[in-house]
Structures are given as structure tokens and as C-alpha cells.
């Protein structure tokens, strides 16, 4: 399964499914990370984690650990 954390800097992809549960999952959904949403990985923090993505016209910072629940194409 390819996840959001696997997408390289500068690449774009589309969300296939949101795994995980509870508050984190709901928070990601509320922020607009749902099935079919396309996004672009803009950059990675100086120490390698977290990553910054552009989604729905704004910038979002997310840890690779949490990005692992987001399955992408």
C-alpha cells in the first residue's frame, strides 16, 4: 500500500482511502483529506519529518507517522 508519506517532494498524487480511526481520522477528513482529493508534497522539514503538502489550496504540515494512514495512488 502506497501512503502519503511515500510520495516524493515535488510530486502530486490522489487519495484513495483514509485508514486509521477516531479523532485523527476525523481531523484529517475535516481538513479535506478524503477519497479522491489530489494533493502535492511541497517540501520536507529540515530534519526529514514532517512533510508539507498543498491540498485544497492551502498548506498542511503532517508527520510521516500520521501520513501513513492516508492511502494514495
Amino acid at each position: 500500500m502506497k501512503t502519503l508519506g511515500d510520495v516524493k517532494v515535488g510530486e502530486s498524487s490522489t487519495i484513495v482511502k483514509l485508514h486509521g480511526e477516531g479523532a485523527l481520522r476525523r481531523h484529517l477528513m475535516d481538513l479535506g483529506l478524503i477519497k479522491g482529493t489530489s494533493f502535492k508534497v511541497v517540501k520536507v522539514a529540515p530534519l526529514g519529518d514532517p512533510v508539507e503538502i498543498n491540498v485544497r489550496g492551502y498548506e498542511l504540515s503532517i508527520r510521516k507517522e500520521e501520513a501513513a494512514v492516508v492511502e494514495v495512488q
Binding site: A23, D30, T37, A45, E52, S61, R63
Partner: protein, 775 residues
């Protein structure tokens, strides 16, 4: 409404300009409190232009889901029946995500006015929003405003008053027909007591299996089963869970609305993106961060702030006094030098426009008014009250400067980037990327350090940072370090250069070890807080909000911490000046034949003797050592001066070799001496910092936990130092050696063991709750 009062709720995403709007329309003379039961800030104020309108600023949220305290209290307030109308503030430059919350607020059935904020930026970008069409699609009035430029605000509130008189709207937007069918069925199953404009809201919430809403509606068993059957069937048809279906439908509706109402100018690189290309650059990001932090620290703590604080402490409030613009200072210094031992006889007023310190002025006024020189009243007023107030106000200039800079960094959007850059390092210790700033500031002074934790949104991270940040040695602890070094090595000037960093390492070690241990305790248990955070676009903060931010924080300190510190200082003054001598109890300095070191007979000495046994395992069980620790609570820089007076070394300074010898003589071994130092550096900070901790935690229980933990940790570290010194250097072995070894093993175990199972209990509770609902 029986009265003519209108209650307006301000809702919106974080960073949508809600607070700027609130400050603008209320003049920000608002009442700041907390929502009951949670430490989420609640602001309430009257509209400037109409005192009959009360505005409640809800916390910035992304959704009305039941998961975070901010979201919960927002929706509780919306559904409480108090607000007559909701102003939904929308960042017009980011319609898509902002409308997601707007749809949910509209679904509550309350009258809503959508305020498209940042109209000026939309225009600048060349985008066009068709507000009439948007208004039709959303089923409520839509107004363009700019809170920053004060545009469209008057019109907005005319509309708000009109809408407040209306009954509210039934939401216009419709989901996919298959979902609408199910929602219709659920609506039909709702009890008749649910009013028409709220039926849709509850139908959607029941569809989502929202635990709070289910409890509130309390369907009959039969109906609940029927609803569950419908939802389950729908989930099967869509091959997705209920929450995802609704979220997907909402974003679907939004995509449709945006297609029709928004014409976007061709995308070009925004200023924000340009700044971020440099500031969060993979290579430049960290160096830039270090430079910015160094500047903040340097200006607020080392140079400007430090100078002003020293001035306030020593010259304005102290006995030194000051020269206007420094005129005559050099001549005075030269005269003092020339006078040698008679320095006290030099009158500073002869050398320039001299203004005596407040303590001196008050003292002279009291004596002139017939009060006994050095008597009870003089001592209470000068040492207790003026001294106490000075200790409080001395920090204000430093804090002011610090908050000017920190609030700017926060309001302009850089703080979110700090968290982005530093997260990797701090999350290992159960802290947040934003914990760095408080720690850095604490190396100057713990008071603004603890205050700086205010920028950490997450409660657990904030509490953990408050608990550990004062472990970092502050400026006032440096004399203690110098005194220790002098006593141990006999030279503070050369060797202190490499030894004092050791105490900083001890501080950093204390932070890391505490972070690793505490995050595995039940207090902080739970999944590491998710770090999913918006990086808002950079913008120059509204001067008004910025100034208010600084003022609110400084005032909160002066007011709340002030009372605590002030009371504590007076209590310590009483303890060290009252006692019994020659069989009579009273004010010691005024007694007949009392020796110079009257503190030996004070209540403080008695109490010191009572609790001295606690420090026996650490090697310093004299009451003097205990009294020194207590005087350190008033202000750490007091320790050296108190040591001087307790040990009868006149005019003692930390660089005075006679004080070193006397100080070293207080302790049986060098291990005990270092243990004393370590304990005093790590234990509860001064009253000023404790007052601030109380203020920041906003809970007596958590303040007690924080201070208790700090003292216990300091005691254990002191025990290690003394016992292991005894064992390894002196070859002594005893009961306390065993205790030290057991504690060391326990500490290492807690640091290195994996995250325990119970850490996930809060998650399990949610699961059981949702299981109960679906059952």
C-alpha cells in the same frame, strides 16, 4: 427574546481573521474566561457601536465534530439556545476549506450571516466571488468584509441585527439523493420535540453516529435500531463509513458551489510561498531559525530587556538610585573609589541629577514621619512590600519586549513554521515543536519562559512544557553556580567557564529525562498528539491585535502572578524577621542584645530545623541550607546574599573567596555541596515563576503536580549526587545508597521502557462509546 439583548456568536476556522474582527468591533475590552470544564479560552464583549449586542468569540475550529474540546464547546454553545445569530467568518482566499465549517454551522438551523473576510486580498489576487449567488446557494446572507482594513463592518452588523430577528434557515444545500433519502427517513424518526430548523442537524449527526447527539436525542430502542439499519445499508451501498460519506458529500457540495461562485485568477506564486521557500528551506531552515531565536533572546533577555530589568530591580525599586540619562555616574563612581572604605559617606546627589531608588525614598519618608529606622514598619514596607513589588515589576520590561517579538512571530505565521522545523526533535520527549521557545527564554528568566508556553495549543504538550521549562538554569541561578564553583574549586573566574555549562547540561538532561518519563505516566498517557497543522499564509499582523496580544499577556502576569508573589514575599519576610529570642516572641531586629545574625532565631530557622531531615540523605541537613533554599524561592539571586548574612560574611558576593570557604564549611563533603547546588537549580522555581505556572496551568491541581514533580525530581538528583559521591569517592555504603540505586534503576526503567499499554485507554474509551452507540 424577552429583553432587547442580541447574542452574536463569532465562528470560523483558525487564522480566518476572527480575532481581528472581534477586537475591531468590541474595542477588545472583552472578558476573557474559560469554557466550563475545559481550558479553552472564551471571550465575550459588547459591540462598540451598540451596547445591546453581546459578541462571543468561539475558538477557531475546522469542524463541529465531537473530538476536540474546542469543537465540543463551540457546538455546545451554538446548540445552547443562547446565540440569536451566528457570524460565520470565512477566509475568502481559502473558500473551499472554510466553507466546510460554514455548511455545518448553517445546518444547526440558527440564523447565520457569512462574512467573507480578507476581501482586500481577494481583490489583490484578482479573484472574483459572486456573493449573491453564494448567498442563494448557502441560503443565508453573505457579506464581503475586511477586518484588517475596517471595510464592510457596519453593513455586516446591520444585516446581523436583521437576521437575529429571523427564525433561522433550513439549509439549502442538498447531498446526493440516495443520502438525502436516508436523512429524510432519520428526520421522520426524530421525536416531535426537535424543532423544524434543527431536524436536519440532528439527522446528520445521527447518521454520523455522533455519540453526544445520540445521547441528547435519546431515540426509542426500536427507532434507534431502525436508524442504525438505514445507515448500515447506506454504508454498504457506498462502500464507506458514515463519517466519510457525510464529509465527502459536504466537500462535494462545496466543489459545486465554488464552480459557480468563484472565478480564480491564473495562479502565480504568492508572497507567502516565496518567503517559505527560504524560511523553511531544507538547508537554510534551521540556521534561519537559530538566528531568529538568538535575536529574540539577545534583545529580550541579554541586552535591552536585561538592562531595563536590572535598572528596575536595583535602581528604581532598590536602594541604588539612578542618574537622569547617566549624567554624573562617572564622577560618582570615581568618588566612591577614592573614598575607599568610607564609600557609604559619599552623597550621590552631589554629582549630578540623582534620583534615589523607591526603597530609599519610602524609607526616608517613613523615618521622617517618625517611624523607627530599621523598625517593624520600616522593614515590612521597605523589604517586604516595596521589595516584593519590585520583584514583580522588574520582570515586566523583559516580558514586554519578549511578547512584542513573540506575538509578532506568532501573528505573522512564523510560529507554525517553528513547530514544523523543530517537531522532529521535541516529539521524542513528549514535547511539541513549539516547546523550544519557552525553553530558550527560560535560560534568561523562567517567568516569561512559562508565559511563552501560551503559544502551544495542545494541552498535554503545554502542561509538559510548563513542568519542565524551569529546569533550564535562568539568569538568577548563575550566581549560585559561581558560588558553588568557587567553593568546590576555589576559583570561579577561570574554571566556571567550563563548569557552568555542565549545569546547563544538567538542566537539559532534566528536561529530556522528565519528558521521557512523564509521557509514559497516566497523567500524560495517550497517543502522541497528532501533528496535523495548517501552515497559514504569512501576513503582517494588525497592529491593534498585536498590541492587544502583548498587553493581555503582560497584564495577566502583573495581575495574577502579582498577587501570589506579593503575598509570598511578605510571608517570607515575616518568617525570617520574626522569632523568639530570650524567651520572647517578636520582631527580631528590634530586640535587645540580638546578635547581627538574628535569622538564627527566626521562625524560618525553626521551620528549617523541622524539615532539615528531608535533606539529610542529600548531605545537607542544617537549617541554614534549608533557609537558603527557602530564600531562593523568593528569588534565586537571594541565595548568595542570604548565604552571606547566614554565614556572617559581610557584603558577600559570589566571587568572594571568604564566602566560598564559609559556604563550603556548611557541607560535610563536596558531594553534599554539589547536591545542594543541583537541588536548588532544579527544585521549584522562584515565587514569580510559580505564580506564572499557576496562571498558565489555570488549575490548582496541575500547579501542585508541576511544583511537586520539580521538587521530587530535584531531590532524587541531589540524592544521586551525594550518595554516589559517598560510594565512589569515599567508599561509604549505607541505607540511602541502596535507596539511590533502586531509584536510579527505576528511573532508567521508566526512561527506556516502551510506551505502556494503558497509554491507549482514552482511545479505547472512544471505541467503547462508539460501540455502545452502534449496538
Amino acid at each position: 427574546m424577552a429583553d432587547s439583548q442580541i447574542h452574536v456568536a463569532l465562528a470560523g476556522n483558525p487564522n480566518c481573521g476572527k480575532t481581528t474582527l472581534f477586537n475591531l468591533i468590541t474595542g477588545a475590552n472583552g472578558y476573557v474566561g474559560n469554557w466550563p470544564g475545559v481550558t479553552v479560552e472564551k471571550k465575550e464583549a459588547k459591540l462598540l457601536s451598540d451596547k445591546n449586542v453581546t459578541i462571543t468569540d468561539l475558538p477557531g475550529i475546522y469542524s463541529l465534530s465531537p473530538y476536540s474540546p474546542e469543537e465540543q464547546c463551540s457546538r455546545d454553545y451554538l446548540m445552547s439556545g443562547e446565540p440569536d445569530v451566528v457570524v460565520q467568518v470565512v477566509d475568502a482566499t481559502n473558500l473551499e476549506r472554510n466553507l466546510y465549517l460554514a455548511l455545518q454551522v448553517i445546518e444547526t438551523g440558527l440564523p447565520v450571516v457569512v462574512a467573507l473576510n480578507m476581501a482586500d486580498l481577494v481583490e489583490k489576487n484578482g479573484d472574483k466571488i459572486d456573493t449573491d449567488k453564494l448567498s442563494k446557494k448557502l441560503g443565508c446572507p453573505v457579506m464581503m468584509i475586511s477586518a484588517l482594513k475596517n471595510k464592510g463592518i457596519k453593513e455586516l452588523f446591520e444585516q446581523v441585527k436583521k437576521s437575529a430577528a429571523s427564525k433561522g434557515q433550513v439549509p439549502e444545500h442538498k447531498f446526493d439523493s440516495s443520502i438525502e433519502d436516508v436523512l429524510d427517513h432519520i428526520e421522520n424518526n426524530l421525536p416531535a420535540s426537535v424543532p423544524a430548523n434543527k431536524r436536519r442537524y440532528y439527522a446528520v449527526k445521527l447518521f454520523e453516529r455522533d455519540a453526544d447527539a445520540c445521547k441528547l436525542i435519546n431515540l426509542t430502542k426500536e427507532k434507534a435500531a431502525r436508524v442504525e439499519e438505514l445507515v448500515a445499508q447506506c454504508e454498504q451501498d457506498c462502500d464507506d463509513d458514515a463519517e466519510s460519506i457525510i464529509t465527502g458529500e459536504r466537500y462535494g457540495v462545496i466543489a459545486h458551489i465554488i464552480d459557480e461562485c468563484l472565478t480564480k485568477a491564473p495562479a502565480k506564486m504568492s508572497t507567502s510561498e516565496k518567503i517559505d521557500r527560504v524560511v523553511t528551506n531544507r538547508i537554510l531552515g534551521l540556521p534561519i531559525f537559530v538566528v531568529i531565536m538568538f535575536c529574540v533572546y539577545y534583545i529580550a533577555v541579554s541586552t535591552l530587556g536585561g538592562t531595563v530589568t536590572d535598572f528596575t530591580n536595583d535602581q528604581l525599586f532598590g536602594t541604588d538610585g539612578w542618574y537622569v540619562l547617566g549624567q554624573g555616574r562617572d564622577a560618582y563612581d570615581a568618588a566612591v573609589e577614592a573614598a575607599g572604605d568610607n564609600a557609604d559617606s559619599v552623597d550621590p546627589a552631589q554629582y549630578g541629577p540623582y534620583v534615589p531608588g523607591i526603597t530609599t525614598v519610602v524609607h526616608d519618608a517613613l523615618v521622617a514621619g517618625g517611624t523607627e529606622d530599621g523598625g517593624l514598619v520600616d522593614s515590612l514596607v521597605c523589604d517586604g512590600i516595596v521589595g516584593g513589588l519590585g520583584a514583580i515589576f522588574g520582570f515586566v520590561p523583559q516580558m514586554f519586549l519578549l511578547f512584542v517579538m513573540l506575538s509578532f512571530l506568532e501573528d505573522c505565521g512564523y510560529m507554525a513554521r517553528v513547530a514544523f522545523i523543530m517537531d522532529r526533535v521535541f516529539r521524542r520527549f513528549g514535547l511539541s515543536g513549539k516547546s523550544f521557545i519557552p525553553m530558550l527564554v527560560s535560560s534568561g528568566c523562567g517567568v516569561p519562559g512559562v508565559m511563552a508556553t501560551k503559544t502551544i495549543e495542545n494541552e498535554k504538550d503545554r502542561r509538559m512544557t510548563v513542568m519542565t521549562t524551569t529546569f533550564i538554569p535562568c539568569g538568577a541561578k548563575l550566581p549560585i553556580i559561581a558560588l558553588l564553583m568557587g567553593s568546590i574549586i576555589g576559583d570561579s573566574s577561570t574554571t566556571a567557564a567550563w563548569i557552568s555549562p555542565l549545569f546547563y547540561f544538567l538542566g537539559v538532561f532534566a528536561v529530556i529525562a522528565s519528558g521521557l518519563m512523564l509521557k509514559k505516566t497516566k497523567l500524560f498517557a495517550g497517543r502522541p498528539t497528532p501533528f496535523v497543522m495548517e501552515l497559514p499564509a504569512y501576513h503582517f499582523p494588525a497592529i491593534r491585535s498585536w498590541a492587544l496580544h502583548v498587553w493581555e499577556r503582560c497584564w495577566a502576569f502583573i495581575k495574577k502572578a502579582g498577587t501570589v508573589i506579593f503575598a509570598s514575599t511578605v510571608v517570607v519576610w515575616f518568617l525570617s524577621n520574626f522569632g523568639s529570642y530570650n524567651g520572647s516572641f517578636g520582631f527580631l531586629p528590634a530586640m535587645d542584645g540580638i546578635p547581627e545574625e538574628f535569622m538564627d532565631y527566626s521562625v524560618l530557622a525553626m521551620l528549617g530545623n523541622l524539615v532539615a531531615w528531608i535533606f539529610a540523605p542529600l548531605g545537607f541537613s542544617t537549617w541554614q541550607a534549608t533557609a537558603l533554599t527557602v530564600s531562593g524561592l523568593v528569588a534565586k539571586e537571594n541565595v548568595v546574599a542570604t548565604a552571606g548574612s547566614l554565614l556572617s560574611v559581610a557584603d558577600a558576593a559570589e566571587t568572594d573567596p571568604s564566602l566560598w570557604t564559609a559556604f563550603a564549611g556548611m557541607f560535610p563533603t563536596m558531594g553534599a555541596c554539589v547536591a545542594f547546588g543541583a537541588f536548588n537549580l532544579l527544585c521549584a522555581p522562584c515565587f514569580a515563576a510559580m505564580g506564572t505556572i499557576r496562571n498558565q496551568m489555570d488549575s490548582g491541581k496541575w500547579t501542585a503536580i508541576a511544583i511537586g514533580y520539580e521538587c521530587a525530581f530535584a531531590w532524587v538528583i541531589g540524592l544521586f549526587i551525594n550518595q554516589f559521591y559517598n560510594l565512589l569517592v569515599l567508599g561509604q555504603f549505607g541505607f540511602w545508597t541502596v535507596v539511590a540505586i533502586v531509584l536510579l534503576v527505576a528511573m532508567l526503567f521508566q526512561i527506556f521502557r516502551p510506551m505502556p499499554k494503558y497509554a491507549w485507554t482514552d482511545e479505547d474509551e472512544t471505541n467503547t462509546a462508539s460501540a455502545a452507540v452502534s449496538a
